[in-house]
Amino acid sequence: MKIKNNLIKPFLTEGRIKARKNEYTGYLDLLIENDKIAEHAMPGQFVMVRGWNSNDPILSRPFDIVQVDPANGLFRLVIKITGEGTGLLNVLRSGSRLVITGPLGNPVEVPHGEKIVLLVRGVGAAAVVYLAESAKNAGTEVYTFLSASAKNRLVCRDYLKNASKDLNIITDDGSDGYHGDARDILERFINKSKPDRIYTCGSGRFARFADEQDRKGLIKGFVFLESHMACGMGDCHGCAVKKRDSGGYYLVCKDGPVFPVNSVELD
């Protein structure tokens, strides 16, 4: 399976935090001023970000571009606070400056006039918002299945609601929406509504589900992958993911981060 490298050349640029919010504890929503990213970023792309001067932590952190507002030179990141780097971003105030490399990655093709499913969990939701909005604008019906352990982890809920024809909420603890496994209701939906494509992010189980459905010929599956990254632009070869059938590796930063689910090894 050959993947098209439709790269927009990235910029090394500064962005000012225009607004920040912690809608849920442990998640940070950043609205950032930067013309270049706002204008050029395409769905599926990400940025590498640093918000500290120190070399500890040393590597920039990759985050998906959640929304862009080219008219106002703004773009949005939604970040789960997990470790050192995201912790440092979380203490920054409005007005702080970030160093940003991007837009990075191979944009995902936006389906026109199709019917698609987004199956995302936790902060994986951040990855698909831009795709959902673009697809909707392209006349595609977007059916979103947003899963999380609990209600207060339903990240990007409103953004996805706006972009979806239908937003299904699924929580492990039943604190909101369907109480149980997203795959159960989704399977019914696929059988009934025959959507064209499914995109998953944030859960290995979901990726494997998409793969099964894809294999059955029911739907075309795509997966947003993550991998530890140093450069984000194909220089370090650090972000390798095994190709499924042929030997060798793809680079998540350059060949991805979105892959046809049948092209990569899922673990």
Binding site: L7, D235, H237, Y249
Partner: protein
């Protein structure tokens, strides 16, 4: 200001180059940094045959550094010569081709193939990759080190840089051996073998168990490697290891490096090479030097 340096007869317009494997000279950098800015460009190490590289995860962050166990994926020398070399040779700056092999014969064969293209200015022997089966051993065994350099020099007219490993008892001795075997320059240093363990999985973090440590963490060790080799050898040293600013580069040069290689910091700051070049220039000016060569090794005085 004269930033020219002479590495084995090849004139670099400034003493800065990428360290092998950390900067691809791809057009993806076009909005940021151009491959014609450094004094030389250096290819990722190539092999005769194509290689996949090691199993992921291949990198992890460490305090002021990173471990990598990339394992040098490469398309093999023929594809390299067809697809990449013309690109590298097209920037108008000297081209260093880094090669490695599983045997002495591989090195010789590669040297010959590269030389025959007429497109390389310098040959770098990667004798020190900690992520290959027989990667670091070349630079750890005095006899092997001598033999491989000597043989390659016999089969090629290209000037040869020996890239050495810090994971030895005394790198200055190894530099001396490299010189006596005929190396035209040494590149000091490659990464240190290190590892990280995932305390949740209770397993090594990297797919290949161990990896090579690079970055600011090792800079004081790289400076010492250069400093201690400088008095023993008279061939130029390409000081590499942990350079994250022009100050770090100047330290290397004062310690004895004729030129500097910049590795992982290219990932952290894709403009680092430009900043180092202009920082060195400003430093020389501010301190009333006319040329970079005036300060090479003067920390020894």
């Amino acid at each position: 200001m004269d930033l020219n340096v002479n590495i084995a007869g090849v004139i670099l317009k400034n003493p800065v180059m990428p360290a092998s494997g950390t900067y691809e000279c791809n057009s993806i950098h076009d909005n940021i940094f151009s491959p014609d800015e450094p004094g030389a460009i250096v290819s990722k190490t190539i092999f005769i045959n194509s290689r996949e590289g090691n199993a992921p995860p291949r990198i992890c962050e460490t305090p002021c550094g990173m471990l990598n166990s990339i394992g040098i994926p490469t398309a093999g020398v023929n594809n390299f010569i067809r697809d990449r070399l013309p690109v590298l040779a097209g920037f108008g700056v000297p081209v260093v081709i880094s090669i490695a092999g599983n045997s002495l014969e591989d090195f010789c064969k590669l040297a010959g193939i590269i030389e025959s293209t007429g497109k390389a200015d310098l040959l770098e022997l990667n004798l020190s990759c900690p992520n290959l089966h027989h990667g670091i051993e070349w630079a750890r065994d005095k006899n092997e080190l001598y033999r491989v350099i000597k043989r390659v020099k016999e089969v090629t007219n290209l000037p040869v840089i020996a890239k050495l490993s810090p994971s030895v008892t005394d790198i200055s001795e190894m530099s001396l051996i490299a010189e006596s075997a005929g190396a035209d320059a040494v590149a000091l240093i490659n990464t240190y073998k290190g590892m990280k363990i995932d305390i949740n999985k209770r397993k090594p973090f990297l797919g290949n168990i161990a990896g090579g440590l690079s970055g600011p963490a090792i800079h004081p060790l790289a400076v010492y490697a250069v400093y201690s080799s400088f008095t023993k050898i008279s061939i130029p040293i390409i000081g590499t290891g942990g350079i994250a600013s022009w100050v770090d580069a100047v330290e290397m040069i004062l310690a004895g490096a004729a030129a500097v290689g910049i590795g992982m910091y290219n990932f952290v700051n894709p403009l680092i090479m430009r900043e180092v070049i202009s920082g060195i220039e400003a430093y020389l000016k501010d301190n009333n030097f006319d040329s970079i060569t005036e300060i090479t090794g003067i920390a020894h005085l």
